[in-house]
């Protein structure tokens, strides 16, 4: 079993009504892209929160990662909308 702590920020956190969640990653969910599409299939709220136009991005070990990045070694993954600092 691959247990991962997901962190949610900003509008994603608000849409899901939570800032983090411990999940068991199903077999075959190997990349960030897989993770996002799995989130979409969970329920309507998640489907809307993770829809493509939301452009949700990910970070592992305090580093931005692209959608094809492998998540199989990650124990914590941050998910968030595009950053708007500065």
């Amino acid at each position: 079993m691959h247990t991962v702590k997901l962190l949610f920020f900003a509008s994603l956190r608000e849409a899901l009504g939570r800032s983090e969640e411990i999940v068991e990653i199903p077999k075959g969910v190997n990349t960030v892209a897989d993770l996002l599409s799995w989130q979409c299939q969970r329920n309507l709220k998640y489907q809307r929160a993770f829809s493509a136009d939301k452009q949700i991005q990910a970070a592992i070990n305090n580093q931005h990662v692209s959608s094809n990045a492998l998540i199989i070694y990650a124990d914590e993954i941050a998910l968030f909308p595009p950053v708007t600092g500065g």
Partner: protein, 148 residues
């Protein structure tokens, strides 16, 4: 090289003085200060809320500073970015770069600001006097959609 993510405001004079202590041969200091605007797309702003990802944000600012020092010969850099509730006119961020020459100070400051905007894990939520509020990223998308 220093970076701070903090709630409280900062004093530009104080930061410039600290910068100048770092080297006696500074000829040029460029500062960029980003502030909360009074209105956005004609809507009067009442408040801005800034969220950030503790740990990654500081790591990203440090990476950006390291990249800048490899690209330009800089004597000092400071980045200060606030979070939490801010009012119109408040300072949000300051980037200061010090160098022997003007061009390095300018170019490095722009490089750092561009990258803070693209990579530093902050998110802005704007509340307006008409009671509405929205995350800036959504507004950007709506704004772009409006312009199509």
């Amino acid at each position: 090289m220093a970076f701070f993510v903090q709630k409280k405001d900062f004093c530009v004079n104080h930061e410039l003085a600290k910068l100048q202590e770092k080297s006696s041969n500074i000829g040029a200091i460029v500062t960029f200060t980003g502030c909360v605007r009074g209105s956005v797309n004609g809507q009067l702003l009442s408040e801005m809320f800034l969220e950030y990802y503790p740990g990654m944000t500081e790591a990203e600012l440090e990476r950006i500073e390291n990249e800048a020092t490899k690209l330009w010969s800089l004597q000092a850099i400071v980045i200060i970015h606030r979070y939490g509730k801010l009012q119109p006119g408040d300072r949000i961020v300051m980037v200061a770069t010090a160098s022997v020459d003007r061009c390095s100070a300018f170019e490095a400051s722009q490089f750092i600001m561009d990258n803070v905007k693209k990579r530093a894990t902050f998110w802005k939520k704007e509340s307006f006097t008409n009671g509405e509020s929205c995350w800036v990223d959504n507004r950007e998308q709506d704004f772009r959609r409006l312009q199509r």
